[in-house]
Amino acid sequence: MNGASPLLEIEDLSVVFHTRSGPVLANDGVSLTLRAGETLGIVGESGSGKSVFCRAILGLAKGEVRARRMAFDGRDIAAMSRSEKQALRGRGIAMVFQSPMSSLDPVWTIGDQLVETVRHHKGLDRAGARRAAIALLDRVGIQSAARRLDDYPHQWSGGMLQRAVIALALAGEPRLMLADEPTTALDVTIQDQILALLTELQRETGMALVLVSHDLGVIAETVDRVAVMYAGRIVETASVRHLFERPAHPYTVGLLGSMVGAAGQGERLRPIPGQPPDLHHLGTGCAFAPRCSRAGDDCHRAVPRIDPAAAHDAACLFPMEAER
């Protein structure tokens, strides 16, 4: 991590879905900066906009995307041509999705898909691409990769498929990997394997990693910095250590209190009261205010903003500790 120009700069990103029951602000003024080789976790519950954010970066979001600035490696993404954007996907930024089974095409073999991707990125001939594909599978921990290259996706288990998806993502030697809930569909012991693999690959290649998860535990072990999202906005950013030791936003505190791992046996959980926000009917002001015990009148009037440059900041008028 050096002081050079950031790898990814997102300033004031908004994504609006126009639905039949009115517009839904899935991302609202999200700003984020990521340096080369940095690992960032985005944590949030369903509807927090964390997946939409990842898709918006890749230009895959379905809604209307607006941003003051979206730049990768100093180049404005919005100004890129179609082919430049295509080159950005895969070679600049790669993405790993939650469901490995639907990330792969069931009618082609794993090998077909890997070889095609490798050829696309590197311009290798068929034999060379096949060797590269085997090396990639080997790299992500598939035993006897050469023999299993010609298997179809349904012949592989979920854990192996997620490895294959990671191999596909690696094929373009990306400088940033977006992993959207990559282990949510997997068993605990397999999740453990995949997280170990991602950590190892990140260290080895020096790529930046954005890990999206609803599970603070997964985030804690895998990244350096965390952004907490709620109702389409980033409500707190901090280093993992600070987030766990000195959570500032009441939502973060509530999230930590809700984790069963945090409470001992027999101890009561401290859940966040109320229901998750309805994005159709977000009032003015802080989206968390209706569920927040610290909320005052001002919280219902204006949305508190966050300083994206700060090491630790919370979008809150009454943060837990005035330690910043």
């Binding site: 068993d187 605990v188 766990f244 069963v260 791992g261 009561r268 959980l269 229901q275």
Partner: protein
Amino acid sequence: MTNSLSSPPVTAPARLAVERLTVEFGGGGGWRRLGGVRAPIVRAVDDVSFAIAPGETLGLVGESGSGKTTVGRALVGLVRPTGGSLMLDGQDLSAIGRAGRRGVPRRIQMMFQDPYGSLNPRFSVRETLAEVLRFHHIVPPDGVAAEVRRMMDLVGLPASLADRMPRHLSGGQRQRVGLARALAVRPSVLVLDEPVAALDVSIQAQVLNLLQDLRDTLDLTMLFIAHELGVVRYVSDKVAVMYLGAVMETGSAAEVFTRPAHPYTRSLLDAMPHLIADKRSRPPVLGGEGGEAASGCRFRARCPRAGDACAVAPPLVELSAGHGVACHFPAA
């Protein structure tokens, strides 16, 4: 409450006792045999035994393919056991089974995983609950409305939601309706199949607290099925850890989680993400994946401690009172 099945209690301490339960799927049953069609037989549950005392919660933990859901479904009669027996208050469930059960609410009820699939999309909350109450004559007809309100209140649903359709409820609210529906027939045992797995963390905590409260107020006996160890540890008095259809370890939650004896239990605990801000530098706790059970100990292929003895399947033996483990080389 009318329950024509109430019989004098047999001298049995266990509310629910599962003995040598085996469930097989596939094969060619009935008329298919004539056609020679025969699917391979899969033994989803293999010789599983456990008992739950009244008011106690047993956590059944395991990864996918462990057979934990099948055990739960066998208990509520959704799958037919191939072998073994299920005893409720000392009474064999298969004996109660067929004969004269029409209109008798099942005394083992179930709460399901999927908040979006577990409610009939065409029934409002009121209709869902009223149907159960009426069908089984739980309360007199003129008391149904009040009872619906009482059930909703019990699970923490505001009365204003009574006429909502499921699609206008949040995931947590739906799970509460599913719970109220199960409790409406006054079950003596509640089987919960991953009741919070599909919920957001903050809502998960609400439902877990609710379950704890209900267990205390209603003196419920629960079988809590989950893949997440943290959740199981939070709600359970006792746990049984399953792997590929068999119980690997069983004991009090405190004992199993603090002094796991089976290498698989230990791996599960180690693999669980911890809420400690410390970037990992360790290798994964387990290699490989649980596929089909091999001969001998089914965990043998992935086990860091496996030896030659493991070619023979180890029986479940008691290490200490109430703490059983199926391993040739248990941790001391």
